[in-house]
Amino acid sequence: MPILLLVVGMPFLLGMTQHIIQRLNGRMNTGWLASGSMSVSFVLLLTIAYQPVIVGQGALTYTLEWLPDYGLNLSFYLDSLSLLFGLIITGVGTVVFLYSGYYFDETDERNRFIHLLLLFTSAMLWLIFSNNLITLFIAWELTSIISFLLIGFKGNKYASAREGATRALVVTGGGGLALLVGLLALGSAGGSYEFSDLLALDLTEHAWYIPLTLLLLLGAFTKSAQFPFHFWLPGAMDAPTPASAFLHSATMVKAGVYLLARLHPVLGDTLFWNNALMIVGLTTMLFSAVVAVRQPDLKGLLAFTTTSKLGALVALLGVPGGYGVKAALIGILAHALYKSALFLSVGNIDHATGTRLVNKLGGLWKNMPITGVVVIVSSLSMAGLPPLLGFVAKETLLEAFVYDPLLLAIVFISAALTATAGYILIWDVFFAKATEEVHFHPLHKPLEVGLLVLALATVILALFVTQLLIPLFTPLIPVEFKLVLFPGFNNVFFLSVAAITTGLALFFLRNLWRRVSEFSFNTISVYDRLIATSEWVADQVLKTQNGLLRHYLIVIISVVMAILLYGGLVQDIFSMPSVELGTFTLPDLLDVMLLVLAVGAAYASVRVRHHLNAALALAIFGYAIGGVFFVEPAPDVALVMILVETLATVVLIIMIGRISAKQRAEAMEALDRNFNNRAGAFASIRDITIAVITGVSMFAFALIALVNRDNRDSIAVWHLDNAESAVGVTDVVSAILTDFRGTDTLIEIAVFATATLGLLALLTINREAGGEPEDPIEEVTPAKISIFTPMIQVVASLVFPLTLIISAVHILYGANAPGDGFTAGIVSGLGIALYYVVFGYDYVNERFTWLRPVRFVVFGLALALINAVIPILSGGSFMGLVEYAPGLDFANLKFNTTLVFEIAIAVTVFGGVSLIMETIAHPTQVPFPTDARRTSTSEMPVIVQQPESEFEQA
């Protein structure tokens, strides 16, 4: 088993270190190195190939745990099937790597190519030696990826290379995803993800048989380029020729066939299996053969003969009773040898002449006889002439289908056409007269000589087919079989001869045939149409992202309301106890009046056009709701509600003022509902409907909540009971805010600070970006009358200190009364706001040099956090309660963490509000200063004369 690790791992390690090796020895051709390693692997595999453990039906397994939770193990499985493939990969690889070492003109390109090809080889070997379904998939996808990279190898030059690469990846990678699902389903159905366990099972009766087989077939068919997925393979011919030879004929495309052969004992030989394989395989075979002959490009021709052969292999695995397996195995081997040789030869031709077009080439025999020999041997093998391995393959192929005349006819025609393709390769390229002068460049010798090995193998394997292959095949073929080069003059032999001669006939008629076969059924266009359809669907999907915020909101609200109504509200509202109207007390009367006021104001704020009026209505609404809170009675909430409402109104009005009158007017026009045209009416009705539905839902929601409300268990009872004993605070709301749920408040002020910082960032970034493009107040003539009259200024400068005193009281005594650090911060912040409004930015900044809002925010938050940490130091909890001066009784104050927290809250909120005001009040022309700004403290009189005197000549 270590041999297996070596075989799989060596190309990988070599690939990863190849650049280093190249750097150490600059003149070295790493092609030799890779080729050498391949031949070593080949020999190693060969040494175990005929050992009894393999030959005698058995298999070697070797397991390393990787991700056992998902059944993913690094396990290997060695039997004659994997050995056969391993020998093909390493054998053909030896030649291909040698070839690659001389194929490229630039060292960089060569190194990059060999690097990728080494990685591919490793992945491919891993694939066939995997015992684990998931590692098989991993290797499978890796080969697809590297194939993608190799097809797109010249992608920086040719768009077609990029397109071909993507197409190949989408088909094989996508098929791979189906395969993954299929493999996992297989593992789930079989209870194990290891082939070694699964191969003993027969899952053809399993409930998932059809879906999982379908998925597996999808994976195999895409990989092995079966109709209608075959189109990626001809499209992959932009890859450098060695890659085409190795990946796209000898190895990777056979992975699908490998998988089918591997799973044949577990899933195969059912009606579904056989029909699927037969239909797809034969269609591919015939269709490709027909198309191959008319390809103008030699690589195209080879690509289609490849798909044709792959179709044949797939169909063989679908022959009932396992009678096609022998032909499939022989076909795999024969095809690998002759097709890789042909590809590499075409590479030589391309290299030497600069073209691959059949009609431009001709008469190359005299220039490149070695390649010529290789092509002749390989093409004849493809055509099925004895004594070559292709002959054996074709014989067994025909033999497998003898039982059904229709199938036989299809196979026969395909075989004949393949033979035609072989003759074209030999005659038209090497012996026919070229239509125009062919420029010829001499080739490196290894490019030609290496190919002889493959041609030789085709001959030798055919000659010793019985001795060499029967031991390997015996464990794999479920039926009795014979394998000889020449089985005698039986029906099959005559069919074979007929096919070869029919091919010859078709060869002479090839120009006619080209015209006849020009029906156009192009699966690339199907693929493109599929893509175009997905793009169309995607475009429809993307149309929903139409940029209209209102539509987004409509969708969101409608969906949520629909779910809410359907999922719960309707049921709850019909199952809840009847609503008690209850007694009607004085607070209720007040409530009703305030609610009427609130609803009226809310309606007004919706109805009125003018923004300012709407803002005023909104303020009234807020105050009325504040009143409701008072009546509840919830004075703490009411106070905050009213304060925040005031602040919100001030901010709202300031913001409205910063929007130009023109835009505001335009926006107001947009408010008008237009019932005259259809769209307008629809939109209006839609909006109103959604509003009504939301309203009704929320009515139901609130009603249930209210009915729910009486006499239930709630954690709030504990808070009421423990506020005084645990925190020493009579205002339970305060106790919750600063102690029981103090962290909420801590984060809440962080939210507040963040919002103000965000506002600062927002307004300053805009300035830095070159000022506001459109001056919001351009069309407003500044009024000659200033509202900064002496009376206002004097009163304002008296009100501000008062707000500070109110704040101090709220901070210090808020624990037992409404108000707390937050209200303190808002009140004093509003005092600053008043100053900004009445005196303007410059004056305030020059007068209040201490007013650095950011510093306040920093200080407040830092204080809050430090104060929260201090209890930990004394063995308590974060945000815990600690008395700082236990014995001290001064002005009925408790010097504890709660008090400090209140101070911190107040400072933060004050800083935040001032920050908003400072930012907004800042004259837009001046670049925004940093916080470390104020240096001048010029003496100002208590009431400064505004630049424009408030005293105006009447």
Binding site: L67, P68, D69, Y70, G71, L72, I134, I138, E141, I145, F148, G152, N156, R162, T166, V170, G174, L177, L180, V181, S188, S534, A538, D539, V541, L542, Y552, L553, I556, I557, V560, G567, G568, D572, F701, A705, R712, S714, I715, W718, H719, D739, F740, T743, I747, V751, T754, A755, A761, L762, I765, V854, V857, A862, L865, S877, F878, M879, L881, A932
Partner: protein, 508 residues
Amino acid sequence: MAPTNSLILLTVFLPLFGGVLSLLLWGRHKAQRYVGFAVGVVAWMASVGVLWMNWQDGIQIYRLGGWQPPFGIILVADMLSSLFVVMSTTVLMMGLLYAIGCNDKVVKHPTFTTLFLAMQTGLVGALYTGDLFTLFVFMELMVLSSVSLVAISDNRLGLEAAIKYLFISSMGTLFLLLGIAATYSAFGTLNFADIGQILASSERPFLAREAAIMLTAAFLLKSAVFPFHFWQPDFHTTAPTPVHAVLSSVVVKVGVYGLIRMTTLLFTSEIELEIIRTILLVLGTISIFFGSLGAFRTYDGKRMLAYSTFGQIGFILLGIGWGTPLALAAAFVYAFNHAFIKSALLMLFGVVSSRTENKTANLSEVGGVGHSLPAFVGVLYLLGGLSLAGVPPMNGFISKLGLVQSGIDAEMWLTLGLAVGAGILTLMYMTRTWQLVFQQQPTDSTAAVKSYNDNPLAPALLISACVALGLFAAPLVDFATATAEQIINAPIYIEAVLGTESSAISRR
């Protein structure tokens, strides 16, 4: 009663403190960003410590203020929250690292680091808290800081995205508040464990279903699932790169986390569970469809990745909706891996667009820009893209693996078909953009290219993590499996939070 762990505090509040302190370095943006990264590293280490202790000793808690839950607030680090927090702190740390090497104007703004760290506090706090209302407050912190960051983005359309998001997110805030209202009305408590315990042990009160629905809506909105997704492509695309990387990878996961909590702890009774799961499966499926097609067809690289997030979250929702331990574990792995992949890819695209004169990610303008970048950036992008498509052996494959296995167990063939289709589309758009940016030569329409770009160190580290998480997936998968087993068993959480005699707690 679970052990008290102060490291939880460090993870949550250190970023806030760091953010506050960085304001003192006003105007010295380089220093601010270094402070930010240092904080990110320490917070990350703390979060890893919490995770480790979790693995060793089970659920860790911290009672804020020392009050007995459910009366006070409690931070709970069970395996689920620890996992999500480590995921978040890692990506946030990388975001902060990226910001150091970022050339955007916005990262030089004096409030940038503070807002970023505030976002981190909000995110991590929301994941750790065991209290519904505290969750709301933390989420708001996250929302407002992210809105501010996007609004001041170098991309001037960030403003538009920010205002749209704030509108829609405020809608989400309303849903959340309604959910909290319904919850409190129905259960008289806000503590997760307490809610779960009451619903499990008593007759279902009124508004319980409404609570479940509104909370689901709020979380779905946060995770940008159809039809709550409209804000997401706009908001994420226009965000500054380090912010985008965080938003699209971990911030959207808060909603996912909330949904997991709801289905495994809060609403484990049959009726609510069925409602939530149905919603998740339906919307998750549609999201996969919408997100994949959107990413496939949109015009902008960053936007493509944002749409991709939309679809990927759909997959995670499927895992939550199936709800088996295997599916949940798969969802965690998926969420975790996606965070790494997506953030890395976004940063890489940020590196690409930072190279262009006007910082564009428009696909018609970035053709061949990759040629002016170090070659390994292209390799990283390809690795990330393949990982996103679920190609082995990257971590994205591990995600898909678990999810497909649980889908097979649930016999969800149609959904699996959709997953395959989405995977193909992902493969297509990721390889297509890779070819466009890193393979194709620059064309006439390619934007002018600058001589410098953002530092690709952070995405390089993240991609390395992706590779590592793909090759050595066992620890993560083991942890996720253990997590799923833990949270499926709600009494473990309830006991850790409320103590063994929890049912005896008197509210009166």
